[in-house]
């Protein structure tokens, strides 16, 4: 246990140090990312205003809250992509991490967790600016705040595991970008990233229950902006834990078969 703790601490420290060197690159990245929710926010605020101030239970202020929290959750959702996996396997880089006496998944998790610390720090002024412009209606209770804090980190774990699993497909075939695209399209629709799920047709909302996406995205946002009952808050956390358990289990099983197929090209 202590071994893991030390490993995580060192890896996180490394990534914090590394990412701090590139504030401009990180900011470019974040500003580009903020464009997306701002577009959704403006469009849906315009729709809400045209419909007499509210659409699907959301006022412009509620949309503002949703999409500003969105920016943080989106940042928390960023993890090692399956495209990176494809790259790792194609050029044989993976063999180095296979030599280490610790599962390579740990490095990815730890590295991105460290990066998150930098990102959250850089995010604060952006969120402040967005709040000044769009005036969100956001009054979370203490419980909602606490649930949100855990939900964003659990969301990060769920998404990391899912993408790790998806990335492992590249052990069998290296032409997988089409599969990835489909995955990300499904995620866009079913997660609450495009619009709050409440604005989706009912059948889409029901469908979303069976995928991990809404638990990594829509759930943390709705938890903080006060769209959920206390019971639902805990169901949400529970669903995240279920997906993490499922992810760990399947990753371990698939991993056993996957590494057998791997033959390195260089080291």
């Amino acid at each position: 246990m202590k071994r893991y703790f030390d490993y995580y601490r060192s890896a996180m420290k490394l990534s914090v140090l590394e990412q701090w060197q590139y504030p401009v690159a990180n900011y470019f990245y974040m500003v580009g990312m903020i464009a997306e929710p701002v577009i959704y926010l403006v469009v849906w605020s315009a729709v809400a205003n045209q419909q007499g101030g509210m659409v699907g239970g959301y006022t412009p202020g509620a949309f503002a809250a949703y999409y500003i929290v969105w920016t943080l959750v989106r940042n928390m959702n960023i993890t090692f992509t399956p495209y990176g996996w494809e790259h790792r396997i194609r050029n044989g880089r993976l063999s180095t991490s296979l030599m280490r006496p610790i599962h390579p998944l740990n490095w990815d998790i730890a590295y991105f967790m460290g990066w998150k610390v930098v990102v959250i720090f850089l995010w604060l002024p952006l969120a402040f600016g967005l709040s000044l412009v769009f005036k969100p209606e956001l009054n979370p209770t203490l419980l909602e705040g606490v649930v949100f804090f855990f939900a964003i980190w659990l969301a990060f774990l769920v998404r990391t595991l899912m993408l790790f699993l998806l990335g492992m497909v590249t052990f069998w075939t290296t032409r997988v970008s089409a599969l990835f695209e489909l995955f990300f399209a499904a995620e866009l629709i079913l997660s609450g990233r495009l619009v709050p799920l409440a604005l989706m047709p009912v059948w889409v909302q029901e469908l979303a229950w069976f995928f991990p996406f809404r638990w990594t995205f829509g759930f943390p946002i709705e938890a903080l902006i006060g769209q959920m009952s206390t019971g639902d808050l805990f169901i949400g956390l529970g669903m995240q834990l279920v997906w993490i358990l499922f992810g760990v289990l399947v990753v371990n099983i698939v991993w056993k078969f996957a590494v057998r197929r791997f033959s390195a090209v260089g080291g």
Binding site: Y22, V24, A25, N26, F28, Y29, V31, G32, M33, I34, A35, E36, V38, I39, V42, V43, W44, A46, V47, Q50, Q51, V55, G56, V133, R175, S177, A178, E181, L182, A185, L188, I189, L194, V195, L199, M200
Partner: protein, 261 residues
């Protein structure tokens, strides 16, 4: 003349290169369909709640989406790959290979890459535009067509200049590879007519990142909204930005010291 021939030769090599990877065509088609699908879903979600947005109705916004996809294809086929290559070469100090060639540096760095399969987006954009125009029962006037094509060309040049200026900052900032991401994020704003955005954002999307001129203005030309002043404004901005971006590149080149030679 010499420059044109050079550009044409690079284009030919680019196309030949792409023909080596034909499977990428199918992947591109699938990606385009996914993007089109999510775009249409977004449009339908909005219009399931309202009948018009900022003075544009559903069919007109479909036309905007057509221009958006079309311009996106042009950008990813001809502009972005060149700029990303430039960025990498500045970062790794390999730009000398281009600079030592006896041709205009700006011309050379702008024509070296061409992604043929991205033209799938151009075709798809044209189809979407055609469907929208058919639904609008639109009769084709000469001025509208001329306005559309000239606005499209100016829009592409503006986007090119914008990319070039941003890429030139790599001479000072070194790691700017996130810019592609930044640009894609901001370009996505073009999916909707800039008129719906708040004033400050509309200003930014018009003059800082010329998304308005790249997408909204051509769409305005087709839907009979474009007036002569806007067109002239676009022309003036195109000329101004072209001169400015060329100057910035030249200025940046002065602080470039290679690492490869």
């Amino acid at each position: 003349m010499h420059g044109l021939r050079l550009a044409f030769n690079y284009l030919r090599i680019g196309i030949l290169n792409e023909f080596q990877y034909r499977a990428n065509l199918y992947i591109q088609i699938l990606q385009t369909f996914i993007a089109l699908g999510t775009g249409l879903i977004g449009l339908n979600l909005v219009f399931s709640q309202t009948s018009q947005l900022g003075g544009w109705d559903r069919t007109e916004l479909l036309a905007v989406m057509g221009v958006f996809i079309l311009m996106g294809g042009i950008i990813r086929a001809a502009i972005q790959p060149n700029m990303q290559r430039l960025m990498e070469e500045i970062q790794e100090g390999m730009l000398d290979y281009a600079l030592t060639k006896p041709a205009d540096a700006q011309l050379l760095i702008s024509v070296r890459e061409f992604r043929l399969w991205q033209l799938v987006d151009v075709v798809t954009g044209l189809i979407v535009l055609g469907v929208a125009l058919a639904q609008l029962n639109w009769s084709i006037g000469v001025w509208a067509v001329l306005g559309f094509f000239s606005a499209l060309v100016m829009g592409a040049v503006l986007i090119y200049c914008f990319w070039l200026m941003i890429t030139s900052t790599a001479f000072w900032f070194i790691r700017v590879d996130e810019i592609a991401n930044l640009f894609e994020g901001l370009y996505a704003a073009g999916r909707w007519p800039v008129g719906i955005y708040p004033n400050w954002l509309r200003f930014a999307l018009t003059f800082l990142i010329p998304v308005a001129f790249a997408v909204t203005v051509p769409a305005e030309a087709l839907t009979g909204r474009l007036n002569f002043q806007t067109w002239l404004g676009a022309l003036a901005l195109t000329v101004a930005l072209f001169i400015a971006s060329r100057a910035l590149l030249k200025f940046g080149l002065r602080s470039y010291s290679g690492a490869s030679a």
